[in-house]
Symmetry: D2
């Protein structure tokens, strides 16, 4: 989940709504094999003065972290990333929780790199040596983030992610992995959010952003804080929170989108095959 | 969940079966309002030499506690209690996790005392002053355990629990609480297990014990360790693990049962009104 | 440790100074039997808009809590309490960490009630039944706080604490405990801080407050944020941070002090014997 | 700390002795810059039937882990490794706690690889690709272990460690690091223990093993369990537990030792310069 718009209390995003991300981690409604997202959570946010982002992560289920409940009502932010994690096998430890941060940038990801242990060596070898010491955990998501950074994320996010994904597919192909990448990812520098929906087998999980704050207000009639938000406020979610005609733009398969205040674009996403 | 029988590895009970308690905490199939049991877990067990029980508890979800995975294959036990917790509001902390222990005794409980905060003062005032300092947490379950201890649990479990429940109903009635008690509980001294199914409104969650290890073997055809277990091995569960005719005895509403090796009895349970 | 004055970043108080409270928890210099304060920590703070306080507590050692390091640079506060804990036997769990909160009030405490398990029942029985359900842990400090609340802390802090201490001494005497109370405590409503130094044997740990921000600036020449603080800024500490003549007022044995902006008073403290 | 000898309860090693490793983590007596070892701990042990080792690790200070206190009295082991950690900057997470395990082998280490972040990329690139996916954390110790495994630890421990250290020194030299390695390490396959004392600047922390269980009994007169231990029982420690003439063999600077039941040898240690 991501939020971009007028500064709002994190509490209003995380705990107040009836179908908030916290609520969803307790009661996943759609979803497939893994029923519960209780393997840690994280939030990353920017201050209104737009300095570098803070992250708050925990290996406890989000719904029972009392420190988060204390802090959330005191965080006012124009841009928040929130993520709950269902481990795909890597240890449940803080350094494996999303979002990941590098300087002004945040990154988070739903999905996975197929058979990651088999390709981990080859992928991490390609990380820029100056970035390599900053790898803290051992997840596919953090590795993909560091590959994107290596390939120029901070200069041209769509091109860098296309190269990173192309590289993962190339390595995967070398290891005879059929569908190496399944990704819905989001990156931000604190002003713009880039989102990506792509999978090697062209069957990626869904990804939506809200079109209009007026519709979102109808979603959350109890949330008075939404009344004060500008019309260019945007929510990015993996599942539409409720079925409201016209409220959500479905980011199509194999696409990326740029969302910033007053601007939203959707483009095709195609991995770049490394030379 | 409880196990009584020939010594078996805790690993075989906790992690091996496809529908183990750990698995159930991830994928609750029945259940009502609360979908996930991710607010801590605990196990208590006796050694074959029958000394006093050990407990291992954690506030992390059971399914991702790596120390439990290390220890479980090295615990061989003839009597194990296991419990996963979905908090009803009290803090997620080790001292609130089941099972609770006092000397040779273990106690665990599904259910709740209605509006516990309102009656907590009156209930805990009645705990024997010599036991009171041993209260570690602030749950209704621990309080009910200490009331049962106060009323003679170690001498006559059914009578003590009847008095404890009667007392809770009396206090609840004084506070105008309609249905003060909802309880499926289990107590053990390491040799016998007493289970209780009772609620003030006579609508208690289910409680079963297995009749015959042969049936249980059919439940878990992959678990070779079951092949070596004696016929008087018993499982106690809140939900029948699979619908196998003849495998499970349903403990009726308002009953208690005594289960020990070679013996099982079911009796009516009626709270004792304190003088 | 407590801070009162112009709003300052928690980070400047907790992590920046060379002899900060975090640093002291790693390298206690004075201190007696217990060498290390690694059994949890907590901070409580008010926002500049003076709403009710937040608390952030953890059972991990303060020096390695990464969430605290993220949050501290984003907390600007005119009044902060910070506490590191060396357990005297009660469980290391969040609900046992200081500071304790009730409405607008915070409370923290160094010291102990002697043989607390023996007197816990009698002390907690005296807690007002309407407050009793809010008892979360099982420490002597929280119990003393709830007794003070019962005896009127929010109306007249010195009188309420005098009654609470007198009551503890009375109960202790009944249990033939020689020196029931050893206390350096602090309470605040967000504007004033009351501190107490008292022990039954008249040999209480030390307690100091700073006289003059100019002296404190000399203590921390590297901390530029101190340059901007008003002259009525005050620090309250259990050990003078460095031996600077004139910098610190030693609160005498058996005294209480009131510290607020532009005001500081020291008075004798005498327990009130309950009727 | 390591123990090798007749099976003994872990409890007797960890919690009973007055100067146990747990006690030392609370009250370090010698020691330099870092005063407290509160950043996690771990134990690894073999069962008497000599199957593969178990590990129990935690990010909480060893002295307040209640699960460890429950489990320790129920672990009977002929070979135990125990380690308390003072982080040198890497995250406090379970996967960074010692001892490390690979198959039948355990590894632990006091000391550090100098400026590890700068050399981490080059060192980890040299890890065998088949082992690389098993790297769980991001510590210098785990990396050194995986280099030793890459260079043949399971076949010839002293030669493999000599090659690993030689390689680290070569990489360090390329990065103009003056003293790349400071190491007191221990490896075991469950029957033999190899210990290493070496530093590039030839100023390594101390390392001792006990000569005679009779002397050790005099160290711990209260520990009745020691009475039953065979004379070839050995303790390995970084500090002599008390100054007892003849009780301890000081492993000299730049040496390795092999310790197994009925055998102990000390040899010079010299890094092997890679071709």
């Amino acid at each position: 989940m991501a939020y971009l718009g007028d500064p709002i209390l994190a509490d209003d995003l995380l705990f107040r709504p009836e179908h908030s991300i916290i609520d969803q981690s307790l009661h996943p409604r759609l979803g497939g094999g893994i029923t519960t997202n209780g393997d840690g959570f994280g939030i990353g946010w920017y201050s209104p003065d737009n300095s570098s982002p803070a992250v708050f992560k925990s290996t406890h289920p989000a719904w029972n972290d009392e420190n988060l409940r204390e802090v959330a009502p005191r965080i006012r932010t124009p841009l928040l990333f929130a993520h709950v994690r269902a481990s795909s096998g890597t240890p449940v430890q803080r350094s494996n929780c999303h979002p990941f941060r590098s300087g002004r940038w945040l990154w988070m990801h739903n999905g996975s790199l197929a058979e990651f242990p088999r390709v981990r060596h080859d992928l991490q070898m390609a990380v820029d040596p100056s970035l390599y010491p900053l790898l803290e955990g051992n997840t596919d998501t953090e590795t993909l983030f560091f590959l994107a950074l290596t390939f120029g994320l901070t200069d041209d996010p769509p091109a860098a992610v296309a190269r990173a994904v192309g590289f993962v597919e190339q390595v995967g192909s070398r290891h005879e992995i059929e569908h190496p990448v399944h990704m819905t990812a989001a990156a931000t520098d604190g002003e713009s959010i880039w989102v990506f929906r792509y999978s090697s087998e062209k069957a990626t999980s869904s990804l939506y952003f809200s079109n209009d704050v007026a519709q979102v207000r109808r979603l959350y009639p109890d949330l008075q804080s939404l009344e004060r938000l500008g019309t260019d406020t945007r929510f990015i979610v993996s599942e539409p929170l409720r079925d409201l005609p016209g409220a959500w733009t479905d980011v199509p398969e194999a696409s990326w989108a740029l969302i910033r205040r007053g601007q939203q674009e959707v483009h095709p996403f195609e991995p770049t095959v490394p030379a």
